[in-house]
């Protein structure tokens, strides 16, 4: 199995006003293709920072991060944008564009990648079917429940056939029943479609749904556990 993400002694220092804050203090991580990895830790442990670095949204202060063997820190803005097209993001607050319908939201990354209208539409409808929203695709986010919005976000994340999905507290804003459904959807995507998933959460129960869990505390990975196969 190929290594899809590799972090080497990753450090990230933020300036909070004039005070430097060390969010990551030397993280080493390897993610294999087809894995479902959860990153568990309390808030402030640096797990979101790690996710941003893996997602090429940010650059490390020190250390290296390889995505499919490419050192992210050597890329310019344009190359980073290209890289992000091959990564699917799912955010805690969904981050859908409110003025667009569910279908238009799913089409957006494909439009950015330069796909034609027909193809975009066909694929968006297909993806919304996969996440179980075929009936709601012409609704705007405000007309959808939190769980439904997150499904749209997942469909959007899958739009450009990403190498892996990055999920930042994907159920953090959803009631527990819907959260369970989301997790089942994520598991299904991982098992049936073989999509690599990296999920950040502070929810122990949710984290244990993944194949493997890394535990973070104060900017370091402190423990690693293998869950059910």
């Amino acid at each position: 199995m190929a290594t899809i993400v590799e972090a080497l002694n990753l450090r990230k220092v933020y300036m909070l006003g004039k005070v430097p804050v060390e969010a990551l203090r030397g993280v080493n991580l390897k993610v294999e293709e087809g894995e479902f990895l959860s990153v568990l830790g309390p808030s402030g442990s640096g797990k979101s920072t790690l996710l941003n670095l893996i997602g090429a949204l940010d650059k490390p202060t020190e250390g290296k991060i390889f995505i499919e063997g490419v050192d992210v820190s050597t890329l310019n803005d344009g190359q980073l944008a290209d890289l992000r097209r091959r990564i699917g993001f799912v955010f805690q607050f969904f981050n859908l564009i409110p003025r667009f319908t569910a279908r238009q939201n799913v089409e957006l990354p494909m439009a950015i990648a330069g796909l034609g209208k027909e193809e975009r539409r066909r694929r968006a409808e297909e993806l919304l079917k996969v996440v179980g929203l075929a009936e709601r695709m012409n609704h705007k986010p405000a007309e959808l429940s939190g769980g439904e919005q997150q499904r749209v976000a997942i469909a959007r994340a899958l739009a450009n056939n990403p190498r892996f999905l990055l999920m930042d507290e994907p159920t953090g804003n959803i009631d527990s029943k819907n959260a369970m459904e989301i997790i089942q959807l994520v598991e299904r995507l991982n098992q049936e479609k073989g999509i690599t998933i990296i999920m950040v959460t502070h929810d122990q129960r949710l984290a244990s749904e993944a194949n493997r869990t890394v535990h973070m505390l104060d900017g370091l990975i402190v423990n690693e556990t293998a869950n059910k196969p």
Binding site: G78, R85, N95, R99, A111, I112
Partner: protein
């Protein structure tokens, strides 16, 4: 991302803030409309005046007048001197005596006119198209009592209520020094065709023409106000050399003016006016540009998170820049197109409001004397230069002022933008 997708994305963002975008567009509309209205009216006026001048002026003529400050007077038979010095270049010259006086018709109504004493045949030779009879004939060897009248003298209100007509008897009145009314009775032999607005030396609608010898006797003078010289051709070298020869012959006591020079001066005056008015209007467009910049900065701040999302989805800086620039361009283009239409409308309305009965400057004078004012009709002119220039200017302003906000939007860091509340 395809350009059409960029535009439709930008459009969806504009639609979201209709009122705000509408007001910003209105700013551009006002700026462009002001430019278009002012320029099309000015150009219309220029065209109208130039066409009037070209009818009233003959471009192959020189006008010789005495320099007023020297007290020097031109005499009627100075035409001989001019024809001598300008031999070869001068085909004919004619002395013109001008007085202001009155003409009285059969019903004892009087009308104020310019009395022009001139040699009919020579004058006709110079102004063949304008010193032409509409009614009657201009005699080659006129009787002393013959009178040629301008169109507005005969038909002052342009409605068929005639003041005087061909073969009617009229009395011409002139007040001499010491104040004494000189009169004589003449017969209208011809009514001129309508000439239009201005003339300088040439025939006018509000003048009456009497033979030069009659004028000399009537006004008791051999002095004339001007001598009009017709040249063989209108090229610059002929004009310059002849003018110089005439000036020298009179020891620099006369001014020689060429019609072409006057036309050039007028057209350069108009260019200056146009530039000035266009400049004022352009300022309002700059204000509109600042409006665009303002709305774009606000929009950029409001949509920081959206920009973060777009970047997380793989949008490049250049594409973010293009989206924001497109929004500015859509507003600018829309404003420019509406502005051109509105400006054109304003120009049309303005021209109608300021002119009475379709003529400019020809207001009605309420007296019992005939209204002899000439009207010139102006219609706004929208040249392709102004049309496309205004639209291009609107676009340039919107791009220029949209550039900074768009650039700032494109430079947002994705992580920070996503965290923005």
């Amino acid at each position: 991302m395809k350009l059409t997708d960029i535009f439709s994305y930008a459009f969806s963002a504009i639609k979201l803030r209709k009122l705000r975008a509408g007001l910003t567009t209105l700013g551009v509309v006002i700026g462009i409309a002001a430019i278009v209205a002012l320029l099309s009216i000015t150009q219309g006026l220029q065209v109208a005046i130039a066409s009037q001048l070209q009818r009233g002026f003959a471009t192959d003529t020189l006008i010789v007048t005495a320099r007023s400050e020297s007290g020097f007077k031109l005499l009627v038979n100075d035409t001989q001197i001019i024809e001598e010095v300008g031999s070869g270049n001068v085909t004919v010259s004619v002395a013109v005596i001008l007085r202001t006086g009155y003409i009285k018709n059969l019903e004892n109504q009087t009308s104020r006119v310019t009395i022009v004493g001139v040699d009919y045949a020579k004058y006709r030779e110079i102004y063949s198209s304008t010193f032409a009879a509409e009614e009657g004939t201009i005699p080659q060897n006129p009787e002393n009592s013959s009178v040629v009248v301008g169109k507005r003298v005969s038909d002052p209100w342009n409605n068929g209520t005639f003041f005087c007509r061909v073969s009617e008897t009229v009395t011409i009145i002139w007040t001499s020094r010491p104040l004494k009314n000189e009169t004589y009775t003449g017969t209208v032999v011809a009514v001129l065709q309508e000439v239009g607005g201005f003339s300088f030396g040439g025939p006018s609608d509000t003048s009456i023409y009497i033979p030069i010898t009659q004028a000399q006797g009537f006004f008791g003078t051999d002095e004339c106000e001007m001598i009009i010289v017709k040249l063989k051709n209108a090229d610059e070298a002929t004009i310059d050399s002849t003018a110089k020869a005439i000036r020298e012959a009179f020891g620099g006591q006369v001014t020689v003016t060429s019609s072409t020079a006057i036309l050039n001066v007028i057209s350069s005056v108009f260019s200056t006016i146009e530039l000035f008015l266009g400049g004022i209007a352009a300022i309002s467009l700059l204000v509109a540009g600042i409006g665009i910049m303002n709305i774009m900065i606000v929009s950029m701040m409001e949509r920081t998170r959206e920009i973060g999302i777009l970047k997380a989805l793989g949008m490049k800086n250049r594409q973010v820049l293009l989206i924001f620039l497109s929004e500015a361009v859509i507003i600018g283009l829309l404003g420019a197109v509406i502005g051109v239409g509105a400006g054109w409308g304003i120009a049309q309305v303005t021209v109608r409001v300021f002119s009475t009965g379709g003529s400019f400057g020809g207001g009605i004078r309420q007296t019992n004397q005939a209204t002899l004012a000439n009207g010139i009709t102006i219609s706004p002119v929208l040249t392709p230069t102004v049309l496309f220039g205004a639209i291009a200017f609107g676009l340039i302003v919107s791009v220029l002022f949209g550039l900074y906000p768009a650039w700032r939007a494109s430079k947002l860091k994705p992580v920070e933008a996503l965290r923005y509340e």
